[in-house]
């Protein structure tokens, strides 16, 4: 489910970290080392990244070669996740699916963060008319439940893996825009912004050099919480059969293919589903650790 994280509306006005950045991250590592669930999560995320990079080497079979004689095999050592109706090895499909689902999740958040931050900052530093136009449009976009907005955008772009990524990314823009706008509102009253303006900096320069660096913290917190949600939304779209086209193996699409044979071959749905859950869990726990480190009030207490 796409939960809206509880985020402080106020930007943490940390100055740019600069030379102290190294010590800050080594401090994060010291905190992280004592947080076993977050460490395990980091390990799982690294594993997923390794699987993403080396999918062709790690997959025991081809994800797409059909062998009708091997259809609907229950999990065995030869096929740890079983096989589907076409006799394709599900573990191999999940391994290739990891590559696609992870990339789509991360890139969608990147698209949403880039577009949303631009809109939020622009609204924050622009004249009242422009600000109103942007923010009222964003209000309308936020009136759509997340997955509904993604479905609507997908209907516009058509199916396919790139379009899923773009649709989830665009659906994320208003969320990032609202948060960065709130932070920009308090930043624009700061003296360093007035000083920059006074010394002749244009809107673009103020946004890029003075506002954006101070959004870093809020973007890191919201961004890390957004990746698992993007993965869930993408899986939901593919599960509904509205996302990628067969035979593209994403996590959601594999489960969609198992719908017709759910009670006969439950492994085709449940095992990939558990992989999604594990990935989301890992991103949630690690994200919570990052959020707690940057802003102890953020997060929903997953690490307590």
């Amino acid at each position: 489910m796409a939960h809206s994280s509880t985020l402080p509306t106020d930007a943490g006005h940390t100055a740019r970290v600069g030379p102290r950045a190294r010590s800050r991250w080594s401090y994060f590592w010291r905190v992280l080392r004592r947080n076993v669930p977050a460490l395990l999560s980091l390990g799982f995320i690294l594993l997923l990244i390794v699987v993403t990079v080396f999918a062709p080497l790690l997959a025991p079979y081809s994800p797409s070669v059909v062998s009708p004689s091997a259809s609907f095999r229950a999990p065995t050592w030869a096929h740890p996740f079983g096989t589907d109706m076409f006799g394709r090895d599900i573990l191999s499909r999940v391994i290739y699916g990891t590559r696609l689902s992870l990339l789509v999740g991360v890139l969608a958040v990147a698209i949403g963060a880039a577009g949303g931050t631009f809109l939020g900052m622009l609204a924050g530093v622009s004249a009242r008319g422009v600000e109103q136009a942007i923010m009222r449009t964003i209000d309308v976009a936020l009136a759509f439940p997340f997955i509904l907005l993604a479905i609507l955008i997908l209907a516009f772009f058509g199916q396919g893996i790139q379009n899923v990524m773009i649709a989830v990314g665009i659906a994320y823009m208003p969320r990032f825009a609202r948060i960065t706008h709130a932070s920009t509102l308090s930043l624009r009253e700061m003296e360093f912004v007035a000083a920059a303006r006074a010394s002749g900096a244009g809107t673009g320069r103020v946004m890029l050099r003075h506002i954006l660096p101070n959004l870093q913290q809020v973007l890191t917190v919201y961004g890390t919480f957004s990746i698992p949600i993007a993965i869930l939304i993408e899986a939901g779209l593919d599960y509904l059969g509205l996302g990628v086209l067969p035979p593209t193996p994403t996590w959601g699409a594999i489960i969609n293919e198992g719908r017709q044979s759910l009670l006969m071959a439950p492994w085709e749905s449940v095992l990939p589903g558990l992989v999604i859950m594990g990935a989301v869990l890992a991103f949630n726990l690690f994200g919570e650790a990052v959020a707690n480190f940057l802003d102890p009030k953020a997060g929903i207490g997953l690490n307590r």
Partner: protein, 313 residues
């Protein structure tokens, strides 16, 4: 508070207008010609022309927009390309199933999530707290369709206790109930877990407030302090989050209705998107978004009643 309520209610009018207009915009910018899609590759251009005329697609966009707005105000969404029935009729026949599912899920999520969160906060760092943490971690991370699939396999497939698909026949409460239990649990799972965590976190921070210490110091029982003083304030943030989370429930019905092959607005939407039935897609999206807007309004109003400090600036 009165002016706040009036302005908050009036505010949804431009919002709904924005929703309706952006749906029109997206649907009319869609590539592909609905007439050609419906009639298939072997249609004569004369027949396509006829269909386009019937749907008013041959008129200027602005004229179409004015017609569209006027029709929606009186509740007409046009005729479904796929079934030839009025889109409004299909919406109205699907709506009760979705409302029953959504409301049951909300009741389960609030009814179980909030008490679990209170218990976890009051008994923080006990076994109960730890169990609730693990449970909510798993549920908040599980895709809702996975929860639905597992419930389906266990309770319909293996145990055979509950029916697996459909929504029951409508006037019979018993039949509706048995068909709604599993989907409603699956739909509520994520929100339930989220509410548990939020309730625990906010209650724990409220319990550290000065007034709670004062209440304890003047000799009130711990129970009374927690339930009469602390919980009330801790529930305020929960209420405001519930309004936003309503969107997840509305969006979640789309997925869950498909898992359980239930009739409803969500599965109607999915079938219409698959069948490129844009008139029906339009109608479903508007109704779902509008219901989210209204649910948001209701929680905001509850919030205003619960917290008199709220003023409209």
């Amino acid at each position: 508070m009165r002016p706040y309520i009036v302005r908050r209610v009036l505010l949804i009018i431009p919002l709904i207008w924005g929703v309706v207009s952006s749906v029109f915009l997206v649907v009319h910018l869609l590539p592909g010609d609905p007439a050609a899609v419906l009639l298939g590759p072997f249609a004569t251009s004369v027949r396509e022309e006829g269909l386009r005329h019937m749907w008013g697609l041959d008129q200027p966009l602005l004229v179409q927009y004015v017609h569209y707005l006027g029709n929606i105000v009186v509740g007409r969404f046009g005729v479904s390309f796929l079934t030839g029935q009025p889109a409004t009729y299909q919406i109205l026949s699907a709506l009760p199933y979705t409302v029953v599912l959504g409301l049951t899920a909300l009741v389960i999520a609030v009814g179980a999530g909030v008490p679990l969160g209170i218990v976890a906060a009051v008994r923080s760092d006990t076994l109960a707290d730890r169990l609730s943490l693990i449970l909510s971690l798993l549920l908040v991370s599980a895709p809702s369709f996975l929860v639905g699939i597992v419930l389906l396999i266990v309770f319909s497939g293996e145990l055979g206790w509950l029916p697996s698909i459909g929504a029951g026949t409508f006037p019979h409460p018993g039949s509706i109930l048995v068909h709604t239990i599993l989907p409603a649990i699956a739909l509520s799972a994520g929100l339930l877990a989220y509410l548990t965590r939020i309730t625990r976190t906010t209650l724990l921070s409220v319990l550290r407030d000065d007034y709670v210490r004062t209440a304890r110091a003047k000799g009130l029982a711990r129970r009374a302090v927690v339930y009469r003083h602390a919980v009330r304030n801790a529930l305020l943030p929960v209420l405001s989050i519930l309004g936003l989370a309503a969107g997840d429930v509305v969006g979640g019905t789309v997925v869950i209705e498909t898992v359980f092959a239930r009739p409803g607005i969500g599965s109607l939407l999915v079938n219409s998107v698959t069948g490129r039935d844009y008139i029906q897609v339009q109608a479903c999206v508007i109704v779902l978004a509008a219901s989210f807007v209204v649910m948001n309004l209701v929680t905001d109003l509850c919030y205003a009643v619960a917290d008199p400090r709220i003023q409209y600036q």
